[in-house]
């Protein structure tokens, strides 16, 4: 197998790959089948993989506590100094509460990273496919950020090997 890594793509034997990290997932409420557009709306060879890392229940509960305390402190400080509580603050608070409810209900907490890879046999069609993928994903509320300079490692991360992401201490 021959690997030639470039800044904006990586060539592996006869195929050229470009990889994206999924920077943002849909922020609005979406229907259950929202992934249709991302999975099926792009015409060309594409790979989507998501790496999940379980978070220990104790760490998840601690993170909730810390987030809630930080938000409450910030709100108290703002109130004390006459700053208004913004909608974004309220939403953060709601989300922390919602997550706590879900954890108490028995759901697991997961850290996850999503990747999107497009593959073509020549650069022109790779560029076309990549443009199609970026636009279509944006329509679905998914923001793709190209992993420029790291396409080799990103391609390796698309393989189902389990240890292709750098070990990272999950924020408590």
């Amino acid at each position: 197998m021959v690997v030639a890594e470039d800044f904006a793509h990586v060539q592996i034997d006869g195929s050229i790959h470009r990889s994206y990290w999924i920077e943002a997932w849909p922020r609005l409420d979406v229907p259950a089948a929202w992934m249709d557009l991302v999975l099926l709306g792009i015409h060309g060879t594409r790979t989507i993989n998501i790496v999940f890392e379980p978070v220990a229940p104790s760490a998840a509960a601690r993170a909730i506590d810390e987030a809630a305390i930080a938000l409450e402190t910030a709100e108290a400080t703002k109130a004390k100094h006459g700053f208004r509580i913004r909608a974004a603050d309220r939403r953060k608070r709601d989300e922390v509460e919602q997550r706590e409810h879900e954890l108490v209900a028995g759901h697991g907490d997961l850290a996850y990273a999503g990747f999107f890879h497009v593959t073509a046999t020549d650069l022109d069609s790779l560029d076309d496919l990549a443009a199609d993928a970026e636009q279509t994903a944006a329509h679905a509320g998914v923001l793709l950020r190209p992993l420029d300079g790291r396409h080799g490692a990103a391609w390796a991360a698309s393989l189902p090997l389990g240890r292709t992401l750098a070990q990272r201490k999950v924020a408590p």
Binding site: G41, R99, A111, A156
Partner: protein, 223 residues
Amino acid sequence: MSILRPRSHGLAVARHRATTANLCSLYPWHTGPGPSTAGPYLGVNWSAGGSGWFYDPFELYGALLTDSNMLIAGRPGKGKSAAVKAFLHREIAVYGRRRFIAINDPKGEYGPLGEALGIPVIKLHPGGQHRLNPLDPAPGDQTGGLLGRQKLVTGMLAIVADKRLEPAEEALIPERSSTSPDDDSCSTSTTSPTSSQNSPPSYSLTPNSSGSPNSSCEPQRTR
């Protein structure tokens, strides 16, 4: 860059955090568009990006399917029955009489659809007007179904007599069932309701249109 920050093995990216309550929507097994666009349009294919869903079992025979059973699942009141009726109605609209439709309708909800499509409605119940004659030839039976009728009579007699028939008794049956008077006309005639009160109910596939009360094609039961 790699001098300043030696690459650890693997790709270093930030992680998102969520609970499985939300992450369950990351469901990859969505299907592509339906197998074919031949057939009546039935609705929106939600698991294929909202494209149209067309279905006709016979269009898919041979190429894609060897069997074409359907399962329609859903909560009460969500339109399962309406979907079936729309399917049947559109089958007739697209293919006309080339599609044979027979509905077994224990709830009695397909009457108006049958009337609209010109499908005869047959109600089978004891004392009812429609009868089913088990000795009628089956549809499409080229040979008149003589052998099948003989087997049926043998089986019925064995049940009534509560014993296996002796070979000699069995040999008599072809005589009786093949030499019954007016064999051809019997197969589609009906009996009047009054004559059925003494004998056990039997049914003919044909609605009671001729109304000839003196027909004698009822299967004769022996004691």
